[in-house]
Subunit: 434 residues, 2 copies
């Protein structure tokens, strides 16, 4: 299926054609205002969605749900705090960006930036140039005041927290997971180093193919689903599931993108700091940056924030984090997180380990470090990436931060990269000349 | 049991004695920092709480849960909005209040205001005098930045929304429920007037004795519990349950305090306005008053906000609402809700209907109007009241607003009134002389 879609993108590259061949409604006709899910008092049976039966996250329902996650499950707040008033961005909207053209990967015909947003079912797009908002648009269910599911962009936040603990000397990347978390000592993670967890080079028996209904990621996901009944003797939450994962192969050699690693990292963060990732994210970042909105995490039945994919935040607040990263941890004159923590991310991971993975063929020359995707391009760009189209793209050379929130029918970003990565590069080139 | 507790209070009036006789830990030893519920990564099995099995709301666990409701169930946000910065109160803390003494109802010995707070397992207490904070304290799990479950204080918010719609001519109090909500036409509510719903004088077969495990309120509560599986053919949410309620007697004669009425009122509000109580509360009040915190509602599996008991808000934001009510809908020069809506509440309800109820013997001379409790005392005081000790007490003569949030082991306020109503009156007398 993945290959089919890529071929399709290469062949046609128009939203209409994709939808005709896949029978998928396009961005406009799949918008929540059209589909009317969960509307009415009460909603009619055919418009009801639930996390217990998974209906809430099937396309096109997910176009509604990504902005209403807390209405489907328990969540824990990440308050913006009251100590700082929300800080405004400078704004200088650049209308030219919509008309920038680029050639999607493998395509023969160019598309405009504006067209690419619909192709990717974008809900929100914000571009910062030197800290000033030059582009900001909302589609679908998203508004400036609402928060959106970040999916695996969450991992990069867990990576930031871990990087801070490493920079502060509280988390030792050379130690073994089993030394920090006794419950994991005999699992496949037990003899992995913290570094191998952070860079996802563990060798575990765990499939994360979202197109395979029997993949381990679904068992992991079920364990963390607070909305289903967990029979006795089965995992009641993430931390009951992780100890059941076994080893397969040798750690450290191949980049293996698996959410379970991010969950182990969240557990390490909690163990070392004595605070959940939600509490620590709040203390270190959310309450200190003049955020506009509270953020929140989806939690499991044991109250554990989903460190691998459960964060929800607003478009502008994500841009604030991206900009703080770009500036080496500085935000409005204050050092939010240690420069060392960000410098460690920018070092990048093993290109060999990445090249040996299934991602290596598509994201050539990239690496992965501290739960961030490092493009290793000449601009030094790096990314946080989440399924269904979530992205924070930081381009130091172009002094640019792009945040995209989306609800594409395609889960894998590999399916969306053709119309997004070249788009980011096009804006980067444009801004570099400005 | 209720009588026993009252006798006890009369006899001894010390927290220690109450607890010795009832084997209940006192306020200090039942505090979450002592009980350690949901602490740990993951919490040990004996410290885990859940809404599916009801453990989260058993004393002393509820002392933790009242400040963490969203972590146990789906919720919908009531955003404070970004248009107004949080508005500060003037502060002039009056240390004398702690030493004010009063004689609890039926008691021979006086207690101090400060002592009464522990007796009632108070989590937060705020007193406004002429709009200035003269008292503000936090105990247990509550902080100025966190929100607390309001229980039936929620009903009074639903009452405000309905009063506004009535004042605007959108909701006709003389019309029958069945005319607005066809699904309820053949239920016990069908031939009740909107007025009878607002004043809870419907005659329905529905018991709300929280001490009776077979009471209808628990069936109602189960229908609205998003965390349990609802077998096919059983109510999937509040609006599936309400049509099953049947009539018993004649409407209009006796005050019958039943949460189901508030849920019908919420349904009426949604039907007439086209907005859920959460959305309408946000539009009319929450986004317009410079609130400090987002509020939220617990919702059922169909996304319906629990209009009878699901609101959560911060202590100070509740004080803002109380002060706005006291000033006839005015807040910082802006008319937030029509003066007419508040005047209608202040008219009070039928004293005869109230006297004929089980509340009549204890709250002598009171009435109930638009989901507010009217003391009918010489100061014109009126209240919002919620189980386990929640209260907003507005005393127009004393220019005083008291907000109390609590997590008492005793659900019924009748069990808590002995140490709270005379306390409020003592502060009122003190402030009147100031």
């Amino acid at each position: 299926m993945r290959k089919g879609i890529i071929t399709l993108i290469i062949a046609t590259l128009t939203s209409a054609a994709i939808n005709a061949q896949e029978s998928l409604p396009d961005a406009q006709s799949s918008a929540p205002i059209k589909t009317q899910y969960m509307k009415g008092f009460p909603p009619p049976p055919e418009k009801r969605l639930s996390a217990a039966d998974g209906s809430f996250f099937k396309f096109p329902a997910l176009r509604y749900s990504v902005v209403h996650m807390r209405e489907f499950m328990p969540t824990v707040n990440v308050p913006r705090g009251n100590s700082h008033p929300p800080c405004d961005f400078r704004r200088a909207i650049d209308e030219n960006i919509d008309t920038l053209t680029f050639r999607p990967t493998g395509a023969t015909e160019p598309v405009t930036w504006a067209q690419s947003l619909a192709l990717n079912y974008t809900d929100g797009m914000l571009i910062l140039h030197r800290g000033t908002i030059v582009y900001e648009k909302y589609f679908g269910e998203l508004t400036p005041e609402s928060v959106h599911a970040l999916m695996s962009v969450t991992k990069s936040f867990t990576g930031i927290l871990a990087s801070v603990l490493v920079a502060e000397g509280k988390l030792d990347t050379t130690k073994l997971v089993g030394e920090y978390i006794p419950q994991l000592a005999r699992s496949g993670f037990g003899d992995a180093t913290v570094r191998e967890i952070m860079d996802m080079t563990t060798a575990i028996k765990y499939s994360e193919d979202y197109n395979d209904p029997n993949a381990d990621v679904w068992k992991f996901s079920a364990a963390g689903n607070a909305m289903i009944t967990h029979p006795e003797g089965t995992p009641q939450g993430f931390y009951d599931y992780l100890p059941t994962v076994v080893k397969e192969g040798e750690h450290g050699n191949i980049f293996g993108y698996r959410t379970a690693n991010a969950e182990v990292l969240g557990w390490l963060v909690a163990t070392v700091s004595g605070k959940s990732v939600a509490t620590l994210l709040d203390e270190l970042i959310w309450s200190k940056m003049g955020m506009e909105q509270d953020a929140y995490y989806q939690i499991d039945a044991l109250g554990t924030p989903f460190a691998g994919g459960g964060l929800n935040a607003s478009l502008r607040d994500l841009a604030r984090v991206g900009e703080m990263m770009r500036r080496g941890g500085l935000w409005q004159g204050q050092q939010i997180i240690p420069r060392k923590a960000i410098e460690d991310i920018l070092k990048g991971g093993s290109k060999e380990a990445f090249a040996a993975s299934i991602y290596g063929k598509r994201l050539k020359g990239w690496s992965y470090r501290n739960m961030w995707w490092i493009t290793e391009n000449e601009n030094g760009a790096y990314m946080a990436r989440g399924v269904h189209g979530q992205a924070i793209y930081i381009d130091p050379a172009a002094q640019m931060v792009i945040v995209r929130l989306a609800s594409s029918p395609h889960s894998s970003n590999l399916e969306l990269d053709a119309t997004s990565l070249p788009a980011y590069e096009a804006v980067s080139r444009y801004l570099l000349q400005k």
